[in-house]
């Protein structure tokens, strides 16, 4: 019993669901994937064929071919029970329905092309049922299913709205030669009546037929039981629908003249389509559904299908594949091919995600893991840690929670607002760039996005530093702030270096810059960044105080022209900030100046938070950049000094470099576990006091370091006289050091005898090591703590 128990515990949480080992399933998964790829291939092929063959004829041939093969395999007439007349009538209805659905499906295929058809039409029933369950019932199955449904809907909308396919405009002209039957004409007019383009109509049509298909599958389940197996039903259904379609096909071929030159050249592709789309897929899905659970099957199948569809869509019209294709088609005009647009790719990704979410089994019933059985035979469940809370978290709630957390504190709130502003500006820029098709704007927008990464990093650090300490990170995550400041600083250094290098090369060879578009964008960026500087410098200004004032002159003398730009923002944002914004150069200088005095004033006051300093410096650098651009633009325009641009950037790079150094220095000192400079004096006096405490002989190994803004850690060894109460000493020392600012202290008190003991013991760490190693190898240590 115990043996079993321990092995169960060791095997972890896998016991909740009985899973067949993956290795056995791999075969089926591979089979499934291959089938799906073949199916995608078949659909693409049939799209090509449908250009020349009438849709009804096509479906007829498909049904007939598969019926012949299935009759050969299944032998529905010779085996199984006899089918009654009522069942035949049901079968007929069934066949008519299946004909209608495949008509709709293939008609959708002609409208929107194979890729979109695959994306829309080929969802497994499980997915659609889950989707409908979410949409139309109150208990959809938790937030994850809701997310999946939302993804699905977004994907459909993406296909509808963001998929501007050039071909569609052409097709909307209603080419008369293309559809020549009453049915297709009716469908076209119906779609045209809806007021959407053909392509979008196709999307709607496909969604509708997908729903129909699922309903049809559900309804036919009873019939398949009656008739004796779904395989038999499938075979009979194919046969009957071929018979149903026969008169129509005859009429069609009599009334219209076919566009096909030679039917014989179509035999091979038809065979392939029949095999891959209808027969192989049916059998493999049946097998996989019995071997694996259905949702899993659906998941793998969907992913394989969509991915292969994307790939095929990319390469189908490629000149290379044209040679490989079995059918020698008449050279068609390239413009009728459906192109791969961004909307399709996005929606394909969404479809894949949603189908994998929707088809995942709902975890409702699964609370804990089965550990074993009690002697009485009742099952025992193990509620391991997060099994109790581990439901998939609702996304809106998650967003709400993190927003609340962000807005809770001043720092993160500032960063967050500024990030929003920055992002908004970026998106406006991007949109405008896409709108006017200006590459410069787009690339600048991406650059802004990249800049936002620093903000995101800062925000994340500000959030993370508030996490609770865990067993692994026993001091808490406060250091993230310092690390983030450090990374930001390094980042700026690298940028400054690159700007420097590039401007050096430009000084040697000034390029011709197109200055028309630069000014508005850089002014906009400047304004945004000025706001940011105002926001962040609140904290910062404390540290620096009036030091910005004298540098104002600097700013004036340097940026004569840019002053007017500043004047604007100046009036809006009040005086002191104007001062900041004004003299970026000056600010940089004063910053450097502070570092000259030594870090204490810089880091002691409001600027303690390295994270915020890093973000601030980043924003400052951006502002400097846009100021530089504006100045150089003006200089170039007015005086034609092409060299102004690289010189400006040289200057700016140097400024950034200088302003980052103090931040880096402080962060490095913290990371190197230096005694915090701002409390160094107090610590020294505190240590003197400690030595004077009655009973204390001496102290050694005193280490103090700043872990994060709030935690100051320290350790110390005390040697005390033999007859003193240790507890009192510990408390006194703790109190003294706490006054000095150390709030995470541990004091090891040693009496003299112990010290001698330990020093005799620790003469060689290595000896202890060797001894323990040998002991361990002899299994000597298992029983106790004593070795000495």
């Amino acid at each position: 019993m115990e043996d079993k128990y321990s092995s169960n515990v060791l095997s972890g949480g896998k016991l909740g669901m009985v899973e067949v080992p993956n290795s056995r399933l791999t075969r089926y998964i591979v089979l499934l994937v291959v089938t799906k790829v073949l199916k995608a291939l078949g659909i693409f092929e049939s799209y090509d064929i449908l250009k020349v063959v009438h849709i009804v004829q096509f479906i007829f041939i498909l049904k007939l071919g598969s019926a012949v093969i299935l009759l050969f395999f299944q032998k529905p007439f010779s085996s199984g029970k006899v089918i009654s007349k009522r069942q035949w009538i049901k079968l007929l209805k069934h066949a008519v329905f299946s004909c209608v659905i495949s008509l709709l499906g293939f008609f959708g295929l002609t409208l929107c092309g194979p890729l979109r058809t695959l994306l829309l039409f080929e969802h497994s029933d499980v997915v659609v049922v889950a989707l409908l369950g979410v949409l139309f019932t109150s208990s959809g199955g938790g937030p994850s299913k809701t997310r999946g449904a939302a993804l699905f809907i977004i994907a459909v909308i993406c296909l509808l709205l963001f998929d501007n396919d050039d071909l569609m405009a052409k097709m909307a002209e209603h080419p008369e030669g293309h559809h020549d039957s009453a049915l297709t004409h009716f469908l076209y007019t119906a779609i045209g009546f809806l007021g959407v383009a053909d392509h979008k109509g196709g999307v709607v049509l496909l969604v509708a037929s997908l729903l129909l298909k699922v309903g049809f599958h559900t309804a036919s389940r009873k019939l398949s039981v009656e008739i004796g197996g779904s395989k038999r039903l499938y075979a009979l259904d194919n046969l009957v629908s071929a018979i149903v379609l026969l008169p129509w096909v005859i009429v069609l071929s009599l009334t219209t003249d076919s566009k096909v030159e030679s039917w014989s050249s179509l035999i091979l592709p038809f065979g392939m389509i029949i095999l891959s789309v209808t027969i192989l897929e049916f059998y493999v899905e049946a097998i996989c559904n019995t071997k694996m659970e259905t949702p899993r099957c659906a998941r793998y199948g969907a992913i394989a299908l969509f991915l292969s569809a994307l790939l095929l869509a990319n390469f189908w019209t490629h000149p290379l594949t044209d040679q490989l294709r079995s059918m020698s088609k008449p050279p068609q005009q390239g413009s009728t091919e459906h192109v791969l647009s961004g909307g399709v790719i996005v929606s394909a990704i969404f479809f894949i995600m949603s189908s994998s979410i929707l088809s995942s089994p709902s975890k409702k019933g699964q609370k804990g893991t089965l550990v074993g059985y009690s002697p009485e035979g009742t099952p025992l469940y193990n509620f391991m840690g997060d099994a109790l809370q581990h439901t998939s978290q609702s996304l809106p709630r998650f967003i709400k929670d993190s927003l609340k957390q962000i807005l809770e504190e001043y720092d993160s709130r500032q960063i967050f607002y500024f990030l929003c502003l920055n992002l908004a500006f970026t998106f406006v820029e991007l949109f405008y760039g896409v709108w006017t098709n200006s590459l410069g704007l787009i690339s600048d927008g991406f650059h802004m996005l990249f800049d936002c990464s620093a903000l995101v990093l800062g925000l994340f650090a500000a959030l993370m530093s508030r996490w609770k300490a865990t067993r692994i990170f026993s001091y808490g995550y406060g250091r993230v702030e310092i690390l983030s400041g450090f990374i930001n600083g390094l980042f700026l250094m690298v940028i400054a270096f690159f700007v420097f290098v590039e401007s050096v090369t430009r000084v040697l060879d000034p390029p011709n810059i197109n200055t028309d578009m630069l000014t508005p964008v850089s002014v906009g960026g400047l304004l945004v960044n000025l706001v940011g500087i105002c926001a962040f410098s609140h904290a910062h200004a404390h540290a620096h105080g009036g030091k910005t004032c004298p540098s104002n002159d600097h700013g004036h003398s340097h940026h004569g022209h840019s002053h007017s730009e500043h004047g604007h923002s100046h009036s809006e944002h009040g005086h002191s900030h104007g001062g900041h914004g004004h003299s970026h150069g000056g600010h940089g200088h004063s910053h450097g100046g502070t570092s000259g005095h030594g870090p204490p004033p810089g880091s002691g006051g409001g600027g303690m938070n390295a994270n915020m300093r890093g973000v601030f410096l980043h924003v400052l650098a951006d502002t400097l950049g846009s100021v530089g651009v504006i100045i150089s633009t003006i200089l170039i325009r007015q005086f034609g000094w092409l060299i102004a641009d690289p010189i400006c950037s040289l200057f700016i790079a140097t400024l950034i470099f200088l302003s980052v150094i103090p931040l880096l220095k402080d962060a490095c000192e913290v990371l190197l576990l230096r005694i915090p400079p701002e409390i160094e004096k107090e610590l020294n006096s505190a240590l003197e006091k400690v030595e004077k405490i009655e009973g204390v002989l001496s102290y050694r190994d005193s280490h103090f370091w700043r872990h994060s803004a709030s935690i100051m850690a320290g350790t110390i060894h005390l040697q005390i006289m033999a007859g003193v109460v240790e507890q009192r000493i510990v408390q006194q020392v703790t109190a003294v050091l706490k006054d000095a600012g150390v709030n995470n202290l541990s004091v090891q008190v040693e009496k003299e005898a112990y010290f001698q003991h330990m020093s005799g013991l620790s003469t060689g760490f290595q000896e202890v090591l060797a001894m323990t190693q040998q002991m361990e190898s002899m299994k000597y240590l298992n029983d106790g703590t004593c070795i000495m």
């Binding site: 692994i472 026993s474 995550y477 690390l483 270096f497 290098v501 541990s746 090891q748 004593c786």
Partner: protein, 397 residues
């Protein structure tokens, strides 16, 4: 009675002698094998960059000049490594009570970050170029990149050979044999398989401390573990039951960072050469961006373990190698007679292989504190914690 006097201000740096200081640095660089290697390689790299720069200026080729600047940027990695290896040997003083040993971790971190930046830039440029392949002049590309490749190959050879060749030598085995019973096998089996190689590394860094010039052997051990790291993104470099003394002079992080950097450069040159060849032979213009994207991905992936480890150390994470051992230790301490409770355990890594811990014990009023203290020290020393601070509080009753 002899008069006693204390001269505290003996070390006042009255005259700032730059020359003396420089020579001091120089000597300290040359005294250690790691930093010597770093230094020579830095010189090689710098001279290559200067040759390139002067040639570029002479022939007025912008491409060469910018490439040489790039080389200078690369040199910063080496410089950081070198500086760290010198700094980390500075004595501890009043302000830096732990000494400067963390510099090595920091250097590794900085190197890793720079690599990530580089990889990112290369990647974005690759994407840009993939969208519209520019006309690359490949006539001048080949000689420069071949030369760069050669320089970098020398670097890899220096850093890896130092580790590789020696560590297979006799003394490694001999030592580890004398030290531990079981570790000979480890030493043998590590020849390049990731998981095993760490044991080999251990054995050697031990030797480093035991035997002669510790930096020498220590380096070998470390050089080794690189092999393991490159191949398999090393997850946890040390197994918990092994105890090590720190190889103080040479650190894993510095070398790992530098080596990764050099490897990245080498990969870059290889990529350039391949793509140049492809472009010349087959006119495949897309080869260049694809190569550079692949390389940047490779760099990014290979840097992640280094970054993760160094961030963990910098954030005072509980050492991964102690993760397994610590709960057992806690349990054993709590089972000591008189110990009620164990609070506030903090364990962290100072630098490679030096673990420091503080705990607070709540004990019964009548417990034998001395015994508890020494037992606790024993328990954690066995787990590999070098410095332990145990605060013993009496339970208020």
């Amino acid at each position: 009675m002899l008069p006693l006097s204390v001269k505290d201000d003996e070390y006042k740096p009255a005259k700032f002698n730059l020359l003396l200081k420089l020579s001091g640095w120089f000597r300290s660089i040359l005294s250690d094998k790691t930093s010597r290697n770093l230094f020579f390689f830095l010189c090689l790299n710098l001279s290559f960059a200067f040759v390139e720069l002067s040639y570029g200026i002479w022939s007025n080729s912008l491409g060469l000049i910018s490439d040489s600047f790039h080389m200078f940027f690369d040199c910063t990695a080496l410089l950081a490594g070198l500086a760290a290896s010198v700094i980390s040997r500075w004595r501890s003083n009043d302000s830096f009570s732990y000494g400067y040993v963390r510099a090595e971790v920091l250097a590794g971190f900085v190197n890793g970050l720079f690599l990530i930046f580089t990889a990112f830039f290369i990647f974005s440029e690759g994407v840009e170029r993939a969208l519209e392949p520019p006309d690359v002049h490949h006539d001048r590309l080949l000689p420069v990149s071949v030369a760069g490749l050669l320089v970098n190959l020398v670097g890899i050879f220096v850093f890896q050979h130092g580790g590789h060749g020696h560590s297979h030598g006799e003394e490694g085995h001999g030592h580890s044999h004398s030290l531990f019973n079981g570790s000979v096998n480890h030493g043998h089996s590590h020849g390049g398989h990731g998981p095993e190689s760490k044991h080999g590394g251990h054995g050697h860094s031990h030797d480093g401390h035991e035997g002669h010039g510790h930096s020498h052997d220590g380096h070998e051990g470390h050089g080794h573990s690189h092999d393991g790291h490159e191949g398999h993104g090393h997850d946890e470099p040390h197994s918990h039951d092994e105890l090590r003394t720190p190889g103080k002079g040479a650190s894993k992080q510095i070398l790992q960072g530098v080596l990764l950097h050099i490897i990245a450069d080498t990969l870059g040159s290889v990529g350039v050469i391949i793509s140049a060849l492809l472009m010349q032979k087959y006119d495949l213009m897309i080869a260049d961006p694809i190569c550079s994207m692949l390389i940047s991905l490779l760099i990014g992936v290979s840097v992640v373990p280094l970054l993760r480890e160094s961030i963990g150390i910098l954030m005072q994470r509980t050492p991964p190698s102690l993760d397994q051992a610590l709960p057992e230790c806690y349990q054993r301490v709590q089972q000591l007679q008189g110990v009620y409770n164990l609070q506030d355990p903090h364990f962290w890594t100072l630098c490679t292989d030096v673990y420091i811990g503080t705990i607070k014990l709540l004990v019964a009023p009548d417990a034998d504190r001395r015994w508890i203290l020494s037992q606790t020290h024993n328990v954690f020393t066995q787990a590999g914690v070098r410095q332990l601070y145990v605060q013993i509080d009496t339970a208020a009753m």
